[in-house]
Amino acid sequence: MEEKITGSDALWRSLIAEGVDTVFGYPGGQIMPVYDRHCDYAAQVRHILVRHEQGAIHAAQGYARIKGEPGVVLVTSGPGATNVVTGIADAMTDSTPVVVITGQVPCAALGTDAFQEADVIGLTAPISKWNYQIRRPEEIAWAVARAFYIARTGRPGPVVLDFTKDAQTGMTEFKYEPCRFIRSYIPDPKPSEQMIEKAVRLLDAAERPFCVFGQGVTISGAEKELAAFLEKGDIPAGSTLLGLSALPSGFPLYRGMIGMHGNVAPNILTNVCDVLVAVGMRFDDRVTGTVSTYARQAKVIHIDIDKSELGKIIRPEVALRGDAKAVLAQLTERMQPKDRIGWTEAHLRCEAVEKEKVINPEVHPGKGLLKMGEVVDRIAEATEGKAIIVTDVGQNQMMAARYSRFTSPRSFLSSGGLGTMGFGLPAAIGAKVADPARPVCLFVGDGGIQMTLQEFGTIMQDGIGVKMVLLNNNWLGNVRQWQELFFKERYSQTRMLNPDYGMIAAAYGIPARSVDGRAGLKEGIREMLSGDGPFLLDVHVEEEGVVMPMIPPGKGIHEIMLSDNEWFS
């Protein structure tokens, strides 16, 4: 007979069996037995102590998205658990594999409103891919195996294990078996032969095919297959926000980002193409604008692993339910090679207009105050497009998305679907932990940085070399932009009086520099990138900068503002 161990030991051994080497967490009463046992596993599993549980889950998300493996979060019951709820919802919308382990009161106290008891299963059910309350130590190995299998397969997502104190302290035999099958769950669907044939026929007959791709390409590791598909068919392509870096920025058929603040060309091409191939994306409203005018002229081929996304927003002519990598390879093999000269030049005029009206004035203003796009561009230049770019939410995010350059996959990290301010700083910590060899540059606004500013403590304690670029304009810039454009310049609660961020950084021992001119920017970037350690570059940018182009809410993707008084035509 096997020797018996505590449930807490069983948890650590299960995590190790799943290949976990890092956990982001914060201790508390109902998870103490697990923390106590960690002392014996510290050599195998690094624990990163955050300063607030929200920081733990965003860090785990950042870790997961860069590493392509589940991030693990360990927190206590009650408030510890409720503090990770935002991150769970964020991971759900952005298909991020995260395993969240929450402490829970002993079984006998369940449902009694015990101290630090919260209904974690009820709270997290609608925002997690799966959740389970572990009540007996014998269930631990099974539940952990199942959790990791569900989190990482199919369309990835967050899972929650609510770990009662009795299960942590009870004794159990331990034998770990990874989960490979759940009969009610099919993570690897394959599209039918007829559907593949139908898609190939559409592609072969197309004169103006266009491809839009999302994070599904990255999750599936289909970057090479996507490039081969586009090259063989001579098909131009645009990326969603979360699809960024799946193709290198310089890829000849790459036309830029789609959506509300995307590039002009890929939005226009979407509404003039005859066949639209959508790969691993879900037609978010920030991508489609008004759905009733989105790609109405096109026959749509939609590739996604999640059946419920097929036809949810846009009804496809051909729905291919499957893994992007496998499906793209099949299509590429069977379709005819094409040379679509003419169509592949259709973007040139759009690009020229955008360059003249938007990009050049944003990136090379030459005089006046520093612009956000200019800062992003200079950092892309200095890092030669090799950095992992992390963003917060708002103007900083859109500017980082628009003006960063990418040379390899998994180089862009942002809260897309939920749009969680405060995501950036902890996510950047997770990204750096996942890939310490690459520079990690965070773009964050003066609003968002204060939502998770406490994580400076984590950076200090663990010496995490995150390069933080604060695009500081003394406004909640994105809301201010909407107030300017759509609320008659009534600036309600968007003006912010800021602290001296350099002094805050100094208090945590993080080197910092404040810049407000072009010479200072150049020198600041050089200084920031010169060492391996953390750095805060507080860049004072033009206060009332706006992100353009913009497809205003309620408009179609062909109705593009180039400035507050000029539309693309």
């Binding site: 299963i121 009820g122 059910a125 609608p126 891919k129 799966w130 569900i150 490979r180 099958f181 759940i182 009969r183 009610s184 769950y185 999640d306 059946k307 419920s308 036809g311 949810k312």
Partner: protein, 184 residues
Amino acid sequence: MENEIKEYTVIIYTENEIGLLSQISNVFTRRSLSIWSMSAGATAHEGVHNITIVTEGTERKVREAAEQIEKRVDVIKVFFYTDDKIVYRELALYKISTDRFLGCNDIEGLLSRHGARIVEMNRKFTVIQKTGYTEETQALYGELEKFEILQFIRSGRIAVSRAVQEPVFKFLEKREKARKQLNK
């Protein structure tokens, strides 16, 4: 017709009822689909539970809800049907005063006209049972009202599809084969 609002019966097969019921009803709530009736219970297959929900909406909305429900890991399969594609019934129980009931001179005729039967009778009350459509159980209610109905309860709908074989079990057989394949 894409936008035609119809009554749909959503038949859900799950691994384990506990906790899933609220997840399933959440899917309806989030899409403002009302749940007209719900019934839940074990199937003849060990470990497989059935939840049957009657709702009203456009086909598109109901399909979306069905797909979101099927996406839950512990949900095995979801089907949805318009009324013409299923055979369905509800169960109703009527508790009435025995004294007043016995005062009726055509008990037999009343019950047989409605296909109802007495399931319990004591000195204080009598319980009558009837299965059928909502309109039918309601019609009997109307007739029994004169005897003073002490309690009345109607179950949610249960239904079988008009397909010859229950499709969920075909699915489970296929999955069992896949499991064996994997373990080889």
